[in-house]
Amino acid sequence: MASQSLSIHDTGGLFQIAEPEDRKGRARRPGFGVGIDLGTTHSLVAVAPRGAEPRPLADAEGRALLPSIVSYAGDAAVVGYAAAREQLEHPSRVVSSVKRFMGRGLEDITFSHPYRVVPDPQTPGLLRLDVGPAAPGGAPRLRTPIEVSAEILAVLKRRAEAELGAPVDGAVITVPAYFDDAQRQATRDAGRIAGLKVYRLLAEPTAAALAYGLDRGGEGLFAVYDLGGGTFDISVLRLRAGVFQVIATGGDSALGGDDFDRALAAHLLERAGATAPSDLQREEARLVARAAKEALSERERVTVSLPGVGLRDAVVTRDELDAQIDALVRRTVKACRATLRDAGVRAQELDGVVMVGGSTRVPLVRARVEKLFGRPPLTDIDPDKVVADGAAIQADILSGSAREGVTLLDVVPLSLGLETMGGIVEKVIPRNATIPIRARQVFTNYSEQQTGMTFHVVQGERELAADCRSLARFELKGIPRLPPSMARVEVSFQLDADALLTVTARELMTGVKQSVEVKPTYGLSSDEVDRLVMESLDNAGEDFAARDLAEARVELGRVVLAVRAALQEVGHLEAILPADERAGVEAALAGADAAMHQPDADAAAIRSALGQLERASEPFARRRMERALNAGMEGKSLFEVEDTLAGEAALDERRGGHSPELVDDDPGAPARAEQDVQKDS
């Protein structure tokens, strides 16, 4: 029975009655979340309050799309259509397509643009745009791409607040699936500067899939074909247990609907016999071509005029347009094939294809996509708004609204944790904690040979991983070789209002990281929760004993490894390990091995072997340590020694973060003061 291994040692610590964690009241305001599509050329905001259908919000003139253009021509920044009107006059002070600069450094900017960019004096590796002085003769203003994006977000936020009649609670902002960490962080920062709580960044293709409700099926494979004004993206998504994962992305960052306009414009100028058109004639042709292209999505033929080059009432047919853009559309099809190959997926395996971006209205594009994938693509939702719609649905859920088909939870039904050495579960988020919640814990290596760690995420109340529900496994590679217990891997668990769990493991020295997303509640009925909780109560005694035994084994194994490594290193030196002592250490090691291999050993037997080994090897360990210290200090100045000691102290500080720590749920909170971090123990 368990009681044998539960024995006495009192601590003398004094306790106060605490206020329960989950009564602190994380204010959520259901229905006041917004979805924002922060696009390269256009941005928009949509809402779907309390389970309503998503609805993009328009400005006073009824326009939902906001050109992603910010003008610094005057004193104050101007955003949108008004900024676009100032672009011709002040090309270097009116910033468009700022998304291309987000999270980028000077060396990343290989495309042409009309701006003066300088290294960011405050953040190495990032850049700023020189948008000129506020008034003639004034000092030049240097704006980060983040600040420019924040101007756009602030306009959308005000638009949403006018519509909702109350402050926005938070936002889901979409980003391209291929955005790296720096680009994502820059987008988060822009949201924060605009005064938005960023619930989550959402991949654009995932948002589009959510807008169509494709997640309701639970499992599936989907492609998202996104042809915008200037860029083409193709993504392959896998839906597993209700969570979308982008498995491959591809495309062409210099191909879009604008190229269709230019191709048709060139054709019209040729028909008019304009062999050397002026810039003005070219611009006129481009605008007419765009209008013709849009009209040809509905009709077979249109009549156009180019007064600037003397073309009057010319008929343009859809076939004529198709002939001009055929090569461009082929390029997108080629990129799709390459991306399917990358994903290891055949076109016929897909369960659906989603169309995103205004240029997917062109009938030739739809026809080619249908042919490639062998099924008609999903086009019911306005392709300009589908990404914002999906973001709005997510934002509504994350604001705390209950939506059809979404299990919304207030508290964690079953503890979430990780399997550690010996098959023991380390609970990171406890049962009944309030959602949303973030917790982190530091784990370490077991041996010096170890350069990777496998993380097994489990759910349940039992003490051994084998008795819990397995949720996910992933591996973190590239851990530096360090003595046992010296590596530091921080694992954070983030559980959002929609029950999406993101587990991220990060090695603190090198910064390498890996993460996984799962829905712990997927396929979990309340009956099963009850059963698992009851089981943990029924088995509590045996479980604690099993955990105790596993922990004792792990501890003994660790000490055996350490002693063996020390023997290997300095065991041959008589001054450090005299022969008679050596015999004692060897005997204790043999005893430890015997205890380890004893199948029915109890924790007390293991601990006794551990005690013997520690006592036998203590003088040896002490002499080895002294030798290392002496060698380390020889020939070093006092300053160097102090420096080393300070480093050790800093390391100790980092090692302090042992126990799970509940973290404030706003990762972007400006001041990271102590009161934001609630220690769990």
Binding site: A2, L14, F15, I17, T444, S485, A540, E555, R558, E614
Partner: protein, 131 residues
């Protein structure tokens, strides 16, 4: 391979005898009950309970949970002392069996002290315990 980052255990103690069978599951001293009642009243919830429990985590494995409880659950063990309810969930009960809750005032300040016959090791802060 994954190991929990925790300090090596330095204290080794000899196992103590089994608690005497007659010992109650949980004992709350009168002075402890009085402080609990005062604090519940000051919180404005004289009818609420005090939750006493064990949770995973802490640098040597488990730590005590000691907080106000506004809505005890059906399967909790309930102990009443001088009108104050202390509730313990069934799983924690196994590790708290025989514990006495005292209230102490002294040079280390004042607070509750738990004499838990099941505890084997403790970390420096006294909040984490091992069994």
């Amino acid at each position: 391979m994954l190991a929990v980052a925790r300090e090596p255990m330095t204290e080794t103690t000899t196992p103590a005898p089994e608690p005497a069978p007659a010992r109650p599951l949980l004992t709350v001293t009168s002075s402890a009950a009085k402080v609990m009642r005062d604090q519940l009243a000051r919180r404005g919830t004289p009818q609420a309970a005090i939750r006493f429990g064990i949770r995973g985590g802490g640098c040597t494995g488990y730590s005590y949970l000691f907080e106000f409880e506004d809505s005890p659950r059906a399967n909790d063990h309930v102990f009443v002392k001088d009108g104050v309810r202390v509730v313990v969930d069934p799983k924690s009960m196994i590790l708290l069996k025989g514990t006495e809750i005292h209230f102490e005032t002294g040079i280390r300040g004042h607070g509750f002290r738990f004499s838990n016959p099941n505890v084997q090791d403790s970390c420096g802060c006294g909040e984490s315990i091992a069994f």
